[in-house]
């Protein structure tokens, strides 16, 4: 069954290939989310890597922008934070600009030095000592989730496993009221909805109203924590940190949404993606069953192959040359991690999912430089535990329908994936 739908997807990908190679290259707009919902972006990126690795699109969905698609060029942009800014007021870190009348400052969308002090305020939550504590908790929860899954009956893996596990984790990091934890999932999803899309699920005003509800809820938690003794959760850490305790409401909301999306969407979609890739590659699934120790190298391979965030964006602070192209001060530069992670000149057999690669950690999914993912080790730990606990229980979990993908050129993920555990 799994291989049957892979064939259908493969055919769609091949059809897209002829479009990708026949259209005028200047018309290629990779910010078009339609290419992501139907998983047909691959050939377009392949062509850009070959023919125009630093590519200008004058009529992008969110305005003119540069696409950077090769591994090495992405590394060059990501590590040059003096030239390529993340600043929210210049547009921030996604291809779509932050909106002038609703700017959400957050440390990922700040430059030095403010970025550094705010990042350091929250990073102890993922320090080694705390990870060891979280590991015990994550395992207990994963076991409970898995022990309650139905056998021989179709169910949605995204909802029952990926969302549930990552939302529980997030609730713990915030010390968030347990019974309300699905609010976190909801706010995470609302944050990344592209309300400017013609078929958007909600209007801009509705989106803003929901995010203000999120702020109101969290302000209640802040007020309680700021008046209590410092504790180990993220809200208390911010409330008691000199560099964050005087944040304005929108900056508090910005940082919350950063932590919510960063700690939720990304791992969620890697948990789903891993199961999909093993179904699409039965030989790799067999390798894993034969040798569960391969989980260690499979986890970074899942993160590479999924690339949960398709891109990050920067804004040029000065004129510069990249890959022979003249980038002007103020230009929008989009680093397509999803493309760099399939760059054959840097990663051997890059289009294949191989769970025992020699250097699996060599991938762009976490970004590089000062904005590199702060939660990368926590994400890897969650994935490791998920697969250890799955292999203890079942030799096979079958994906029984093509997954429903998120319509976004930023969050590369899944809304639904129906599976069945054979009993």
């Amino acid at each position: 069954m799994a291989t049957a739908f892979k064939q259908i997807e493969d055919e769609a990908i091949e059809m897209a290939r002829s479009v990708a190679y026949s259209m005028p290259i200047e018309d290629i707009d990779m910010t078009d989310s339609a290419r992501f919902v139907d998983n047909t972006h691959w050939a377009f990126f392949e062509r850009l890597r070959k023919e125009a690795p630093v590519h200008y699109c004058a009529n992008g969905r969110f305005g003119p922008f540069w696409s950077v698609t090769r591994y090495k060029d992405i590394m060059a942009v990501d590590t040059n934070h003096a030239v390529f800014s993340s600043e929210a007021h210049l547009g921030g870190i996604t291809a779509k600009d932050q909106e002038d009348d609703f700017i959400l400052p957050m440390f990922i969308a700040m430059d030095q030095p403010k970025h550094d002090v705010q990042r350091k305020a929250v990073s102890p939550i993922v320090a080694p000592a705390n990870l060891a504590v979280l590991e015990v908790l994550i395992r207990e929860r994963a076991q409970k989730i898995f022990d309650n899954l139905p056998i021989n009956e179709p169910f949605d893996w995204v909802d029952r496993v990926s969302i549930e596990l990552t939302t529980q984790m997030l609730a713990t990091l915030f010390d968030f009221p347990w019974e309300d934890r699905r609010k976190l999932t909801y706010w995470s999803d609302v944050t990344t909805i592209d309300v400017s899309a013609p078929d958007a699920k909600m209007t801009r005003d509705e989106q803003r109203a929901i995010l203000i509800e999120c702020l109101t809820y969290f302000t209640g938690l802040w007020n309680a924590r700021v008046n209590a003794a410092p504790a180990g959760d993220l809200i208390s850490m911010m409330a008691h940190n000199p560099s964050m305790r005087d944040m304005q409401p929108m900056e508090y909301l910005g940082n919350l949404l950063l932590l919510i999306v960063g700690g939720n969407d990304t791992t969620r979609n890697s948990i789903t993606g891993g199961l999909l890739f093993l179904n699409e590659n039965p030989g790799e699934y067999q390798k894993l069953r034969d040798n569960p120790a391969l989980i260690e190298s499979m986890v970074p391979e899942i993160v590479r192959y999924q690339t949960p965030l398709a891109h990050m964006r920067r804004t040029a602070l000065q004129d510069t040359i990249l890959g022979g192209q003249h980038i002007k001060k103020g230009d929008r530069v989009v680093m397509w991690y999803v493309s760099g992670n399939r760059d054959e000149t840097e990663i051997e057999n890059a289009d294949a999912f191989i769970i025992d690669r020699a250097r699996p950690r060599q991938h762009l999914s976490f970004g590089f430089g000062i904005h590199r993912c702060v939660g990368n080790r926590l994400a890897e730990m969650q994935l490791k535990i998920v697969w250890e606990e799955i292999l203890k229980r079942w030799p096979m979990i079958e994906v029984i329908e093509p997954p429903v993908r998120v319509k976004s050129a930023f969050v590369k993920g899944y809304e639904r994936m129906m599976v069945r555990i054979p009993g």
């Binding site: 590394m75 030095q112 350091k120 950690r361 060599q362």
Partner: protein, 106 residues
Amino acid sequence: MPRVTFIEPNGTEHPVEIANGYSVMEGALNNSIRGIDGDCGGNCACGTCHVYVAAEWRERTGRQSEMEHDMLEFAEGVREDSRLCCQIEMSDTLDGLVVHIADSQH
């Protein structure tokens, strides 16, 4: 070939040879030294090859660059003798170098 000894946090020593021109991080990866990840491949961009260099070697290994300093800002257990060992290039003058591997790499 010049020799480097990596010492794990638990005290286990790993003497290896690293050819001139290679970084200490590459030497660690080629010899499967546990605790050195080198995720970024030597671009000074991830902070996963964090080591401590003993005082007597610091003149010869050189000092942190600005980028290296920025990356170490976010590493765990940073000290005055912290270095990212992808930024230390092997040469005959470093024959006998001893580096201590940091507790964990982010």
